[in-house]
Assembly symmetry: C2
Homo-oligomer: 303 residues x 2
């Protein structure tokens, strides 16, 4: 499974980067890196394209020994006795920040993890998910994004859209703001309640669905007109994105405490962001319409 | 001491705000807030002035009951048995981010803390410090800032500049970057190794010295010419400031976990910041001269 998953994430990275390159016209910068403690990755990032302010699509295949602190900060391994600190992890992680404030930021991440030899019960698992973070609310975009992911979940017994949707809303919670980072999607961890092959099939189909979940939304929004005030609101929302990633995100914490490649971990941060003291939005504004669904997540699908 | 310290920080807030208003011409916005669990504060913030991109000078006087997590994340109280979770805290905290990339950001914070009734050994203490964060290195600015603080320390037996300077370099360490946030200054916590009055006298003199430590530097730098590239470098350094505050800063963590006033806690973040993937500076550049002293802190004073 180690090799199978590593091959899959590299293939998906190629597919996604090819599609984005065609859309944006800019070449990704590629960095292949190795980690002194074991393994490495292939990071592809660009900024200043026609469509994207910053876009990163990274894969990594790493192994080594966890610190007890790092072991605690990640999912899985709950049935282990704490002695199995050897780990193997491979995954793909991407974050796309478009220029246009009408076009949402998107994040997706799919990963496979082993502790020890990966043979004991609970010593391997899959995790991942995808979530959409707009600055302005277009309900049909949320519906489309959730629909694509629900359809994938519905085809796999190991997946449960309702649970994974809730998990996403709970995970991307900026507690000190009482807001979710965005409109959610799906999030899951510790997926090992079926054969490794069945779990892999689910995660693979999620990763393959990424482009169809996002590109149609981007096509609708990337050339919409916008005002400087709307661009500024996007920058404030970017600030919230930074707050979530640096204060709460487990992947970031895990990376920073396991001597990961800093530039690859922090590629998720937007190119620019803004913090206005006591920024307020008008009651009947589009900005407030977004805030309402960030404060009280909605079920976007009726069935 | 609770009242004495609270009076002092309010007086210093007035003095500093008056001086900054005179310099910048903009009125501070003032927010008086109360905390449901006990106490409150007076926040003064402005952005978009002539000199400052964003400036905040806050005081607070709060009390309540700590969560065990919050009790761990703060200094002091080491001799307590963990049962004294009642607390009282008052202090002043300020962060000034000037527009001009040649003018440094500055931060200062002075606080008094009690746990339980504040009578047991180790149940009260003072903390604080001040540090300078430039985007470009002017050695004479670092020397002046450190000199003012060393002179204060030298007049108080409870203070030790050499130790507090080292503590500052250690505290403002962005570990994942291998850089300090800035050129340091002094940092101290758990100061209770003298009478309460003597400790208070030291902290008061530090707070009173703030304007003389910073204004002469600002006067030299605020109107210097600069290029768009230098402004962009400042924005990248602002990004590092955000990384430190959200990932490592104990005051921020403490505020976020004790239901502090979010806007007052996060007023320390710059108005705007930037994350460039794999940003690099030329070996013989001014940007690199700064990085060198952030990576290897210097002793700015020869005596």
């Amino acid at each position: 499974m180690r090799q199978t998953m590593a091959d899959m994430v590299h293939r998906i990275q190629d597919e996604i980067c090819d599609a984005l390159k065609q859309l944006d016209g800019v070449e990704f910068r590629q960095d292949e890196w190795t980690r002194p403690e074991g393994g490495g990755g292939r990071s592809r990032v660009f900024s200043g394209g026609k469509v994207f302010e910053k876009a990163g699509v990274n894969v990594s295949v790493v192994h080594g020994t966890l610190s007890p602190q790092a072991a605690k900060s990640m999912g899985g391994g709950h049935e282990l006795d704490g002695a199995d600190l050897d780990f193997f992890a491979t995954g793909i992680s991407l974050v796309l920040h478009p220029h246009n404030p009408m076009a949402p930021t998107v994040h997706a991440n799919y990963r496979y993890f082993e502790r020890g030899e990966g043979k004991k019960s609970g010593s391997w698992w899959f995790g991942g998910g995808a979530d959409l973070t707009p600055s302005y609310l277009f309900e049909e975009d949320a519906v489309h994004f959730h629909r694509v992911h629900k359809d994938v979940c519905d085809r796999h017994e190991v997946a449960d859209y309702t649970r994974f949707k809730q998990w996403c809303d709970d995970y991307f919670h900026i507690k000190h703001r009482g807001e979710r980072r965005g409109l959610g999607g799906i999030f899951f961890d510790d997926v090992n309640d079926a054969s490794r092959e069945d779990c892999f099939a689910f995660v693979t189909e999620c990763a393959e669905a990424f482009l169809s979940s996002y590109l149609p939304i981007l096509a609708l929004r990337k050339d919409m007109p916008f005002t400087p005030e709307q661009k500024e609101w996007q920058q404030i929302r970017r600030g919230r994105y930074v707050e979530f990633n640096l204060v709460y995100d487990r992947g970031t914490t895990f990376g920073l405490t396991t001597n990961g490649r800093i530039e690859s971990i922090l590629m998720s941060l937007p190119l620019t962001s803004r913090w206005e003291y006591c920024h307020e939005v008008a009651e009947d504004s589009e900005e407030n319409r977004l805030l309402e669904v960030l404060r009280e997540p909605k079920n976007w699908l009726q069935d």
